[in-house]
């Protein structure tokens, strides 16, 4: 095994364990890892941005003579004017450009994908033609069956009713809105369950790495570093108790 791979395994293991110490309580090891994390990710962004600047601006402009790129360059520079107190207003021009284009692009596309398309799919006939005659299909597992169309319609309508703010929730509106809440709660529950799955997957991913690095070919990095981390935490705890609590 090369030195780089071995060192990599030890560093990755150590940092993972340091982050996990937060589960015990906030401590210097966690703070160290956390600040390193911010630093490395900022450094990474800077390097990538520089690379991009070269690819998107320098090369097309200098090598291919596409001088129209001076316009976005100028607008970008205006954004930085925010740091000069007297010229802050210049940065507004840049924001105006970005927000203007963004709003313009968004309007028709949102209407098309999130309103028309969704309405189109909700509006379905409540009967289907099976073997030449109209029938009502009620297979719950087929998302397009007529029964599910009705359930879906009730869900969409009642939740929309819940989000009415300019009318009082009384009578039938109240019934609809209450149904809407029930639908909302089921959806939130489902999302919670699904998220549990997601977060556990992340943990599984980290732990399988730790298990891999506990292998003798990596010098049992996880085991040794795990012991070291626990020892440091204990030491820190003892010192913490000796010191008056209001410091740090």
């Amino acid at each position: 095994m090369s030195f780089e791979l071995l060192l990599g395994a030890w560093v990755a293991t150590g940092l993972t364990l340091f982050i996990f110490t937060f589960l015990y309580q906030d401590n210097p090891l966690f703070k160290l890892a956390e600040h390193l994390y911010v630093g490395v990710s900022v450094g990474y962004t800077i390097v990538k941005d520089y690379d991009l600047l070269v690819r998107l601006i320098y090369e097309p402009m200098v090598k291919q003579g596409d001088w129209s790129l001076l316009i976005p360059l100028g607008i970008g520079t205006l954004m930085l004017a925010r740091y000069i107190p007297k010229a802050t207003w210049l940065s507004r021009i840049a924001f105006a450009f970005i927000v203007g284009v963004g709003s313009g692009l968004a309007i028709p596309r949102i209407i098309s994908s999130f309103i028309l398309k969704q309405v189109e799919d909700t509006v379905r006939p409540l009967v289907s033609i099976v073997q030449g005659g109209p029938t009502f299909t009620y297979n719950l597992l087929d998302p397009t069956s007529n029964l599910n169309t009705i359930v879906l319609l009730i869900g969409v309508v009642s939740v929309l009713f819940y989000f009415f703010f300019s009318i009082e929730h009384t009578g039938p509106v109240r019934v609809a809105a209450r149904t809407g809440i029930l639908f909302l709660m089921v959806a939130f529950g489902a999302a919670f369950g699904y998220t549990v799955m997601a977060r556990m997957s992340l943990l599984i991913g980290r732990l399988s790495d730790l298990i891999e690095y506990a292998d003798p070919q990596y010098g049992r990095a996880s085991l040794w570093l795990g012991l070291a981390t626990v020892a440091i935490l204990l030491l820190w705890n003892v010192r913490q108790r000796e010191q008056p609590p209001d410091k740090g």
Partner: protein
């Protein structure tokens, strides 16, 4: 404070410990429970399976290291299938911090399947803009990415011959960990340039994508580690995701037990309080 109350206010570090143990044990001693494949995962798989050889397949790996455990196995499985089918593969990412991961997975799977960069596949890397980048690719791919990740001019790559815009791409799959992902590809891409679109995503955002799935805006959805495991089953190469499913089962049941316990204690407290009031 009675027993139930004390149990409800238990130090949360004990719960942390329970979860840690429940994840670790099955990883060390796997059982290998059977996995059932859902139709939405099959949607993506069958579409790729039906593509003729030489079709253009674009895989957009729109995630960062935080979602690696869920989306990395999905990327591996998809790439293996695509390379086995001899599709022309375009890799890219809309997420800057994911560039390295995407590069790594492309290189690794390509090497494993004996594929050559520039000829069988291309990795375009990252470029900012998300929505505007996709529009840009839809207008002219060579302009949006003048060079690939390794600095080769895209116009001259054999794999991109005849693929000038997104209209020439047969299938796009976005593996998404959040915004700038599947929705972005739909709204700014498929909507206009009419390629078929499939998706893979983390468990957190999966429920939010079901309306798109239902309305046919995406033709399949691989959700989370579970989805990845199903995909591994479909292509017949069981690996990390399948291995993780035992641990997943164990932790889910640990949480279900915790929820039940919590409600038992809660009911105990409530009934004892009611009795107290009655007295």
């Amino acid at each position: 404070m009675n027993f139930a109350e004390r149990m409800l206010h238990i130090d949360r570090r004990i719960i942390f410990l329970v979860i840690g143990v429940c994840t670790l044990l099955p990883l060390l001693y796997p059982v290998g429970l059977a996995i059932k494949v859902s139709p939405e995962v099959r949607g993506v798989h069958d579409y790729i399976e039906a593509l003729p050889e030489g079709s253009v397949f674009l895989l957009s790996m729109d995630y960062d290291p935080a979602s690696k455990p869920e989306l990395y196995p999905q990327a591996v499985a998809l790439l293996r299938q695509a390379f086995r089918k001899n599709l022309r593969v375009i890799g890219m990412t809309l997420w800057l911090p994911g560039t390295g991961l995407a590069d790594q997975v492309m290189t690794q799977v390509a090497r494993e399947m004996g594929k050559v960069s520039g000829k069988d596949y291309v990795f375009l890397g990252w470029s900012p803009g998300s929505g505007s980048l996709i529009i840009n690719m839809g207008q002219d791919l060579y302009k949006a990415f003048p060079t690939d990740y390794y600095g080769q001019p895209t116009r001259e790559l054999a794999v991109l011959k005849g693929t000038q815009t997104l209209r020439d791409v047969n299938y796009v799959v976005s593996l998404a960990a959040g915004t700038s992902g599947i929705e972005t590809w739909y709204v700014y891409g498929k909507d206009k340039y009419k390629f078929e679109l499939g998706g893979g995503c983390t468990g957190v955002i999966a429920p939010g994508l079901y309306p798109l799935l239902r309305s046919g805006q995406i033709n399949g959805l691989i959700g989370g580690l579970r989805g990845a495991a199903e995909y591994e089953v479909l292509i017949g190469q069981k690996e990390r995701a399948v291995a993780g499913m035992d641990a997943q089962s164990a932790t889910h049941f640990a949480i279900i037990v915790l929820v039940i316990l919590c409600n038992v204690f809660y009911l105990l407290i409530r009934t004892s309080r009611k009795q107290g009031e009655a007295r």
